[in-house]
């Protein structure tokens, strides 16, 4: 006898596949925003499922801050080769060189906010009318209000108080020239769901997620990886620790956790026991109480 219901991971998977197919059907020129982090890898994996046996019918777009983990770039290039899809790169360095944005100053300077301009420029230059992202509603309080199909005006801005109502499984992607949408197929997944699914499907992820020895600096209570971009203070010292990263952002802002989890099973166990939120180690979110909402309004991921 078969059971005629799905378990929660299968239901989340089916929902995400449905969204990805809606995007393909409703838009002319969608892309997947690919950062090399686990959420965008998951979205790419789900896109593979959504269009099989055809290949993923849209490009991946990477906003390259120049402050990458080398492992992330290697992973990105491998996955592009494996899937046989096009890669579009928007370069923050080019935006700086063109005078579109100015580099932040000081020891906590990052290129996080600069990405917004590069992203919106890349969307415009490539006539993208829907950018698919790996954002999840459980990540952050502004993201909890995000729609699956999220409208952006012709300046790329989000108006959280004036969003289109989204009912049942009917999605309205209608838009005028110059406007675009962001689509979030994994809106309803939590961090734990993502790890349980990656483990179940045995999805390849960058080595950075697994515990490894690394040169790090203690800053604001977290282990920041040492890199050529990091400006050291006099009292700061570089030491080697066994750490892993719970999220991946720029190498300058992503803090690692001390960990021995070197397999997907161990990671899932570790995440289940975690007592702090995933973005707690991201200095980009620590700047103010509405840091994410403010960036999202301007056009952030």
């Amino acid at each position: 006898m078969s059971k005629y219901y799905l378990n929660y991971l299968d239901e989340l998977e089916s929902e995400a596949i449905f969204i990805l197919r809606e995007v393909w059907a409703q838009f002319e020129n969608p892309v997947i925003l690919f950062s090399g982090g686990k959420d965008s890898i998951l979205v790419t994996h789900l896109a593979k499922k959504a269009f099989y046996p055809a290949k993923i019918p849209f490009p991946l777009m990477h906003v390259d801050t120049g402050h990458n983990f080398p492992e992330t770039i290697q992973f990105r290039d491998d996955i592009i080769k494996d899937l046989g899809v096009e890669l579009i790169v928007g370069s923050v360095q080019e935006s700086i060189d063109d005078g579109r944005v100015a580099e932040e100053k000081g020891k906590n300077a990052t290129r996080n906010a600069l990405q917004i301009t590069t992203l919106l420029d890349a969307i415009e230059a490539n006539n993208v009318d829907c950018a698919i992202g790996g954002g999840r509603r459980d990540e952050e309080k502004a993201r909890a209000k995000e729609r699956f199909f999220s409208h952006r005006d012709d300046f790329g801005q989000w108006d959280p108080k004036n969003q289109r109502p989204e009912l049942w499984n009917i999605f309205n992607g209608k838009h005028f020239q110059g406007e675009h949408f962001r689509a979030f197929p994994i809106s309803n997944w939590t961090e734990m769901d993502v790890w349980n699914y990656i483990k179940r499907e045995n999805i390849a992820i960058p080595s950075l997620y697994f515990a490894h020895e690394r040169e790090v600096v203690k800053r604001q209570g977290t282990w920041i990886p040492y890199s050529e971009f990091l400006i050291l203070e006099d009292h700061e010292e570089i030491i080697t620790k066994k750490i892993r990263f719970r999220t991946l952002g720029d190498i300058t802002i992503t803090g690692g956790d001390e960990s021995d989890a070197d397999s997907l099973e161990k990671i899932a166990l570790e995440v289940a026991g975690m007592r702090n939120t995933e973005r707690g180690n991201r200095s980009d979110d620590k700047r103010s109480e509405s840091a994410m909402e403010d960036r999202k309004r301007q056009g952030y991921f």
Binding site: S2, K3, Y4, Y5, L6, N7, Y8, D10, E11, L12, E13, S14, E15, I17, F18, R21, E22, W24, A25, K48, K49, A50, F51, Y52, P53, A54, K55, R137, D138, K141, A142, A144, K145, P160, K161, R164, P165, E166, L167, W168, N169, I170, N172, K174, H175, F176, S187, N188, T190, M192, D193, N196, M274, R275, N276, T277, G280, E289, S290, E293
Partner: protein
Amino acid sequence: MLDNNQLLRFTTAGSVDDGKSTLIGRLLYDSKSIFEDQLESIKNTSKKKGHDGVDLALFTDGLRDEREQGITIDVAYRYFTTPKRKFIIADTPGHIQYTRNMVTGASTANVATILVDARHGVIEQTKRHAFIASLLQIPHIIVCVNKMDLVDYSEAVYNKIVNEFEEISSKMLVTDVRFIPMSALNGDNVVNKSENMSWFQGAPMLHTLETMHISSDINKVDARFPVQTVLRPQSVEFIDYRGYAGRIASGVFREGDEVTVMPSGFSSKIKSIDTLKASLKEAHAPMSVSITLEDDIDISRGDMIVRSNNKPEAIQDIEVMLCWLNNKPAKPRAKYTIKHTSNDQKAMIKEVVYKFNINTLERVHDNKELGMNDICKVKIRTTKPLMVDSYRENRTTGSVILIDDATNETVAAGMIV
């Protein structure tokens, strides 16, 4: 065990004073779904605002405007997981001016939780919330009789409220209603069983949510497959492959089934049901699959594959219960885009039959203007037939939205009568 864990979506309706945010905070806190850095941040805010202890309601704070005004404006989604199930809470505001947000949150819910303040009993707002739950055909309702601590945990007060609610719910189309006396503030009967109400024989709220039967919430009888897109791989290996991609809206499809494609009416047999992992002998709602047929038929987005011996109606004149969502009122005889499953057509509201006064639940026949938050029965005419079931039988093939072509905004949600 993980394999059988289901996903349950529930909606909470209530105003600030009902203790809705406190209830959600309590559910998350007692089920250990709150992280330490979140708790720390809430503790600081509580202290700043001059509360003693932790104000659990702060867990549901969202956008800056909502924090400043202390209200929920939009639907916010919360997540938690227990060893038995994963839960999605659609947290919606309860005031009358946010009816549209309640309708949105209710559209996908398995369970509606309706909060009643034990001191006030069933009030107009309770009726409105119950009405929306029945209109949206949420399969299960849990009435949370909250703030029992303020009425000395009195069984008599609780029984009176149960009777009051049953008086109104007996007139509505609801099948499964349960009542739980609780104090969200003190944690009675939310996650843990109350020690103050030994007279209550039922289970606490979380246990109820974890164990109630939801597998039958989706229609498993009428096989409906709206085609989202056609998959035509360019590779040599799959040169002749033509797969119809979609999510099964209801029912079960099996390899070899006699099917009909609507609206063309052509028949064929299912050749295969494919996914990346494997081809399946059978598939059911709400699975996303790709279906191939024995015969070469012209099929595109908006068509629906159904079993030949069980077809939906293909009609152009549709009676709909409509909830108006936009601040611009409906224009008489105006044309809209109507979206039904994967099918888009043009439509015109021909007639408003009656409007509900959503406080008294009476039908109003003399004022037929359709403004924001109004709920009306209307007659709609579409340019081409839609393949519909009644919303009562099928929430997926029985629902539509209207889009204003001048603004591209979603202006109305409709349930086919």
